[in-house]
Symmetry: C2
Subunit: 354 residues, 2 copies
Amino acid sequence: MKKHNFSAGPCILPQSVFKEASQAILDFNNSGLSILEISHRSKDFVAVMDEAQELVLELLGLKNKGYKALFLQGGASMQFLMVAYNLLEKKAAYLNTGTWSSKAIKEAKLFGEVVEVASSKEKNFNYIPKNYTIPADADYFHCTSNNTIFGTQIKEFPATDLPIVCDMSSDIFSREIDFSKFDLIYAGAQKNMGPAGTTLVVVKEEVLGKVSREIPSMMNYAVHISKESMFNTPAVYAVYVSMLTLRWIKSKGGIQAMEQKNNRKAELIYGEIDRNPLFTGFAAKEDRSVMNATFNLKDESHQEKFDMMWKEAGVNGLNGHRSVGGYRASMYNALSLESVQVVVDFMQELERKV
Amino acid sequence: MKKHNFSAGPCILPQSVFKEASQAILDFNNSGLSILEISHRSKDFVAVMDEAQELVLELLGLKNKGYKALFLQGGASMQFLMVAYNLLEKKAAYLNTGTWSSKAIKEAKLFGEVVEVASSKEKNFNYIPKNYTIPADADYFHCTSNNTIFGTQIKEFPATDLPIVCDMSSDIFSREIDFSKFDLIYAGAQKNMGPAGTTLVVVKEEVLGKVSREIPSMMNYAVHISKESMFNTPAVYAVYVSMLTLRWIKSKGGIQAMEQKNNRKAELIYGEIDRNPLFTGFAAKEDRSVMNATFNLKDESHQEKFDMMWKEAGVNGLNGHRSVGGYRASMYNALSLESVQVVVDFMQELERKV
């Protein structure tokens, strides 16, 4: 049975990527060796790392603009710490839009003063705060572009002269943005870029080297840049599968093409959420995420019936996060419009049946 | 052509592991989903993580002895930092036996006083120092059990009342040791345990919680223990392949069986190094590593001829590290005696030809 994978992350990746990634476990590049047993210093793997870094900058439109792309380990959670280690001298400004922003703030506080410029916590993070003031003397401004758990997404980033740091874990490569407005972007791979186990950092080199503390080697972006993401053994396979996924994005028309497809999927499901009298959307309409649509049944007594329908039809990962309840349709790049249609059909079938 | 993979790491793993690991990319546990696209919170993956942690403690003989096994990210290099963050209050004692020990010392110095109890640096780390004194007032003693680059291995660990921390990246699961003598063991997976991208930490819980500093969440062993290695998204696939490799070790008879096979391989190659008048071993005999045999040609003019022989025969990764030159035969658990025999045959053929 065909599966429709709405998992919030790790999540669906293209089938063609799985096929090539499976073959490379048996024989990589006709070398007679598995990609799992080759040296990360081998010519073949260095080429993978180079291509992955190159594709990132190309797809984001950041080539020859002073940026470096790094593939590190530890997920976005490690970046909460590394960002502060490298950039926070005295004070930093953070926008709090959910669980991940809150965690980023907590870690940054170990390194200096953190000003929370705004928060939507009082409404269980169901909207993106706007019209807040960013202190001009902060070292940087930090935000989370998409909130996987609550299904909100920043549509317009604030104008500020400060360096902007953005956690784009759950929507990078999904929509066109002027990425050159950002000084540091980070993203756990396991949404639109690849499998769990590697983390992308895109950093404008000029923002580094400005803090006075001594930074441990593994925490130091400058060290990783100087070694081209090979200061120590990288997550070879996760970088390889990310490279395959980036190639796939490029072959399909780049971020522009992804955005068009993602918008169609989002329109389809939000249209049904708004039309269907049984359901209600969780996030404020103007802040709805194109990646993660969060919605609830108005009457929870229908839950058992609805869950049985979609589970029997091979739909995976539609359950909402415990902080929100209800449902969450995570519609990353590789998810087809057809899969979204399957869920919409069940929402309509439920309406007919109850 | 069959390959004989002597790569120092990432390195050879069992062929049966590659086969199962390749299949799981296409369809994991007959779920219709790739292991790369499932949630790390899914029942199927939680079972993988649990089994991997359980197998580690079982194979090391550490079940029900107050230890926890963790699968983290960042490699041994991240552990250089985490060990100091969690255990170094005032002073720590380090034995310097090579590149990795030196790096561990460098990172620890950011957190307190580091006493280098002994070093073999003056002889390019070709031996393991002995009869050194460990200061009784140190917070812990740190050593590296096997030195991949130089081909030395600690045969007898020092007697001390301090907690012992050991980097076992390149020989864990290869030989029987009383692992309960150690309070914290860490190891990058990419030698005997799995692919690059995950790092094993085995820690006796009672040594934690004794430093006064605030530890960032991702650096804090106690946080990772409380979340059973799932504080954030783990390196799903690297943990899975490690679990398969641990299962393989167990099915073959555990560490005892690995050690017997490893000793036969080491005897074979070191016997030839000592017998063959063209070659000389790099490491002091009593400290020779069973994992990594380092050796050089007495007359480097034979190098081209020897290299051509083994490269044409499908031998991979026999070149020595630049710090030592010559050759390095890394003979991890999955390498067959037959592969070692192939190299020994070429060493003998070279002797006949020159």
